[in-house]
């Protein structure tokens, strides 16, 4: 292999993780007692290793052969320059920038690909905000507000940049214009594979103003097993995990398991008992998670302490609401409700009801989505 100057460990790590069917456990087995460069040579020779066999069992020979074939076709130097061109930094476990909180992790990522402001990995309070992709307006709002308040208070928001709660938390963090802590997004694909595509804008903003993190090399497409694996990094990076909304068997519960394993406090946002999107979080509360009703509950628990938050803004004035609007507001409760259901329970004529509702939507008391009306949480 032609090389003028010796390549750093990270280049070999990158090449190793680019091999087919490579995962964190196999990578750890390969690097058990050898340097990345040695491990690469072992792969290239197609030598079956007992450490790998302990992880993959009977598939050892097929896998080593596949690795040897792929390694023969890959150029480590080329892969390395691709990363540099893409502005992606690679951090191995020995690297100075490797986050301290992951050093004694039970299952640490052996290599981290990062894009953006590496300062975000420096020791600082970090909180993970996670939750379901299929969230309600309540969930998005809480996640957004939480992301915004924590960022403004000097806490870095860590999330997975998925749809729903994750995206709302990141959007809230980015809404803080100055002096906010940079948000960290831990994704489960290569840093050049934007997933889900609808989050493209958010993805770019985080790369510019925060930090994108992944343990997958460039070009890795989404695979179901990578998401729970990604969640352990979220839990590892954060000092506390907040679950905003989760269905009964939601993916966020993997993050919770990982957080418990790493002894990070888990907070859950209480939700309506009839909302399926809150069933998982309410169960977490029953199982002993800390209810998060105000941000100070969380800030007190952070090890660094010394954080403060601004006084919450005064609630909007409820004066000047017409009696019919009051009546509608009373009838609608706090869950999304359809116009038809509202008409049956509030007793107004269809025209009066529509007029009152539209006025409430215009003045910001109520939001409407797909024909479902929901009361805004910041209006009491």
């Amino acid at each position: 292999m032609p090389s003028d100057s010796p390549l750093p460990d990270e280049a070999w790590l990158n090449a190793l993780s680019s091999l087919p069917d490579m995962g964190p456990a196999r990578l750890r087995a390969l690097l058990a007692d050898r340097q990345p460069e040695q491990a690469w040579k072992v792969c290239l020779q197609g030598k079956p290793l007992p450490e790998v066999e302990a992880v993959v069992g009977g598939r050892l020979l097929a896998l080593t052969a596949a690795w040897a074939k792929a390694a023969g076709q890959l150029s480590v130097g080329e892969l390395w320059s691709q990363l540099t061109n893409h502005g992606v930094q690679v951090i191995g476990r020995g690297h100075a920038e490797y986050p301290a909180c992951l050093r004694d992790d039970p299952d640490p990522p052996l290599v981290i690909f990062a894009q953006g402001d590496l300062q975000a990995l420096a020791p600082a309070p970090r909180v993970a905000i996670v939750g379901t992709r299929r969230c309600t307006r309540y969930g998005t709002e809480v996640a957004y507000e939480l992301g915004k308040t924590l960022t403004a208070a000097g806490v870095s928001v860590v999330s997975g940049l998925a749809l729903g709660i994750d995206a709302a938390a990141h959007a809230g963090a980015l809404a803080v214009k100055a002096e906010g802590q940079p948000p960290v997004a831990v994704v489960a694909t290569g840093l050049d594979v934007i997933y889900p595509k609808t989050n493209r804008a958010l993805w770019r903003q985080i790369a510019e103003r925060g930090l994108l993190v992944s343990e997958c090399p460039l070009g890795t497409t989404p695979a179901p097993w990578r998401f729970p694996a990604r969640n352990r990094i979220i839990a590892g990076l954060a000092d506390a995990v907040v679950v905003v909304e989760s269905h009964e068997k939601g993916g966020s519960l993997y993050t919770v398991d990982a957080a418990i394993e790493r002894q990070r406090p888990v907070f859950a946002i209480p939700g309506p008992i009839r909302s399926p999107a809150s069933r998982g979080t309410n169960q977490l509360l029953a199982d002993g998670a800390i209810p998060l009703c105000q941000v100070s509950d969380l800030l007190e628990q952070l090890p660094q302490g010394g954080l403060f938050i601004d006084e919450p803004p005064p609630p909007p004035v409820r004066a000047l609401l017409a009696p019919q609007q009051e009546q509608v507001l009373e009838a609608m409760g706090w869950e999304p409700v359809s116009l038809n259901a509202l008409a049956d329970c509030c007793g107004l004529s269809p025209v009066d009801l529509s007029a009152a509702l539209s006025a409430l939507v215009r003045s910001g008391w109520v939001t409407v989505e797909r024909g479902f009306y929901e009361r805004m949480s910041n209006t009491t």
Binding site: G172, S275, P336, L339, A355
Partner: protein
Amino acid sequence: MLAAISSATLLGVRGHPVTVEVHVANGLPAFNVVGLPDTSCREARDRVRAALESSGLAWPNQRITINLAPTGVPKAGAVLDLAMAVGLLVACGEIEPELVKGLAFLGELGLDGSLRPVAGALPLVDAIEEPGVVVALGNQAEATVVGPEILYCVPDLRSLVRALRGDEPWPVVTSIPEEESLEDDPDLAEVRGQRMARFALEVAAAGAHHLLLIGPPGAGKSMLARRLPGLLPDLTQAVALASSRIRSAAGEPLPNSGLLRRPPWRAPHHGASAAALVGGGSMVMRPGEVSLAHGGVLFLDELGEFAPSVLDTLRQPLEDGTVRVSRAFGSAEFPAQVLLVAAMNPCPCGGSGAPGGCRCPESTRARYARRVSGPLLDRFDLRVDVQRPNPLDLLSGDPGESSEQVAERVISARLRAEERGVVANAELSPAMVEQAAALTEEATQLLKAALYAGTLSARGLHRVRKVALTIGDLSGHQGPLNADLIDTALSLRIDPFHPVGHAVG
């Protein structure tokens, strides 16, 4: 040895006069039908021969040629049987040619000589130019609706021949008992709760606005939709005739009176093909469901399960009120003025569709939403959400208004539409909307905001104004449309498939 008898054939839903020319000559016995007969028309040979013999009449063992003029028009079905039999009898000299002058013959023959009713008697009799028409007894009601100068209804070939020869008087035409409709429309009072959906039904009936009901299975979408025809006024004479003609041509049952007076209700299954929905066929053009529902309600349950290409064929008929079906050998035009009502689930999982309340990922919802094209969705002026009713309403709730009460308001609203020169507000042209649906300053601002926000298209803007006008008509509102009416029209027009926004602020 030559005879020419008048009859008619169906082209789409219209009759077309046909002259049946019969030539009997010496030569090898044969029976040929020429002039574009279809298979069942060609098979007349065997029916006519058996019917003649069963009726005690002689079969000429000669060379018989039957020409169906005009020869360029395709002839379908057995409606020409009777004219062929009478023509043969005239050509053989069994009946004097003068006796059949001024008469046309329509009917299918049985092997025993009985005369069977045919599909499409109404348009067929309508197409006859002769003053007198002979039809089967079973076609009496439909033929009476058209009212030819002389109408003879006969049970079989034998009594026809006797009556023609003057041996017996013509069978007496008895009057037909009046019957209002084929089946009673169910009453709206049976629906508990669902106040907004009932209101949407009322608006749909009053303004002939197309309606989309969205909700989970078991919410009562079909139940609501089935009650819409009962809210509509009786058909006008012209629409009743057109609608009865289509039904007759398609061989669908008609009320005893032969004339459909109540708006029809058609609910094709979602497996329907494009030809079944808008009409078509290769030799015989059959009207589709959209034409069979002319003047009434076309209900498409499970809209999302219809093939998207099939649904899109509905766009043009909905806009123009007619369907023109063209095939290689000709084309036919069917009237198709319908009130379209459709029902669908908000997503494949059948959940409530509420944000956070369904198991479908956003991509599945998006795929489901794509099954109904934007242009078609835009044609539904009213799009309301129907949730499962409150259990308390089901058990103890007061019954709502009856269909009769609502229908009265619908009629008064339609009277106001008539003052504007249309049957219902949905038919108002853009120029007429400007004139009839003026807006207050506040209402203009509302619509502007909706247009700028992208929630309303230019077509949608028009439709919202028409719906607001109908709502005003129903409540006796006078003067320009105010913000309340526009608000109501806008909230009856939800966007069921809008993806959930994940970022606030």
